[in-house]
């Protein structure tokens, strides 16, 4: 299932990229480079398109980075289309 995950969005290294910073709760924040086409908004109210995974320990999101990084997410940070 695809969804939109709350994140901070700013420019990437290259013009076709964006940098998204995602809260992972107690583990702190992680930043990833993703295609610009996969984000909406800018600044602290941005969102990135993710694929959701339901695992035994809760919900995870697959970020559209080069290596499809995964982050644990909270329900309230996710919007399903």
């Amino acid at each position: 299932m695809t969804a939109w995950l709350k994140c901070a969005v700013r420019e990437g290294i290259f013009s076709r990229e964006s940098t998204v910073s995602i809260s992972r709760g107690p583990s702190g924040e992680a930043s990833f480079i993703v295609p610009r086409s996969e984000v909406k908004g800018i600044g602290s109210t941005g969102r990135v398109r993710v694929r959701l995974l339901d695992r035994r320990d809760g919900k995870w999101a697959v970020v559209p980075s080069e290596y499809r990084d995964v982050v644990p997410v909270q329900e309230e940070d996710v919007t399903v289309d």
Binding site: I13, F14, R16, T19, E29, S31, I33, V70
Partner: protein, 200 residues
């Protein structure tokens, strides 16, 4: 095991390797004699954006905490064209990307070969002093994106960087076994349903 050009074509035809746009022609022709396929590699081409870092910022990069984000405050970039290439000066460091999107999909059930790849420079460019990567040349199974090139000129003369230049080569290898994937629904299990996965 390194894939030959014949096996590269097979991998492209079967979707085990994605190069988009696909470098062409697959074989040299009289109209297009420059074939991007060597015996065991395929040329990839430079995209039209060059990024460099300006050095007048009071920045320290802490690699423990997503250090690359600090670079966003110090980057400059420019589009390059056939009329306006980028002159890479001696000892200068810039970033570029490949035109081609490269993908090495991992089949969850191991039914398709697992592939990984390496980026290498071209010897004719290296002789001019051009280095196109200096760390992390491996493109791991599961990668999907444009390859970022860390380019540096160690020669005594500026090197002109043009868009669509055959800037590097990709060497593709077969992976032994099926890797687990962090983005799999079944991460932590050896296979869907818990059984052992077949070997690639």
């Amino acid at each position: 095991m390194i894939l030959s050009n014949v096996k590269l074509h097979e991998a492209l035809d079967n979707g085990w390797l994605v190069l988009q746009p696909e470098p062409l022609p697959r074989l040299p022709t009289r109209d297009h004699p420059d074939c991007p396929y060597q015996t065991t590699a395929v040329d990839l081409h430079l995209a039209n954006e060059i990024v460099w870092l300006i050095d007048d910022k009071p920045i320290q990069i802490d690699l423990r905490t997503g250090g690359f984000t600090r670079l966003l405050d110090a980057r400059e970039h420019r589009q390059i064209t056939d009329d306006q290439p980028y002159p890479l000066k001696p000892r200068q460091f810039v970033l570029g990307q490949t035109i081609e999107r490269v993908a090495l999909p991992v089949s969850p059930d191991g039914s398709a070969p697992c592939l990984a790849a390496r980026v290498e420079g071209r010897s004719s460019f290296a002789r001019c002093g051009l280095l196109v990567h200096f760390t992390a040349p491996t493109i791991h199974a599961g990668f999907d994106g444009h390859i970022t090139l860390e380019m540096c000129n160690f020669g005594p003369y500026p090197v002109l960087l043009y868009p669509r230049l055959a800037i590097c080569q990709l060497i593709v290898e077969r992976v032994d076994g099926v890797p687990f994937r962090n983005d799999s629904e079944f991460q932590g299990q050896s296979a869907p349903g818990g059984g052992a996965k077949p070997h690639c």
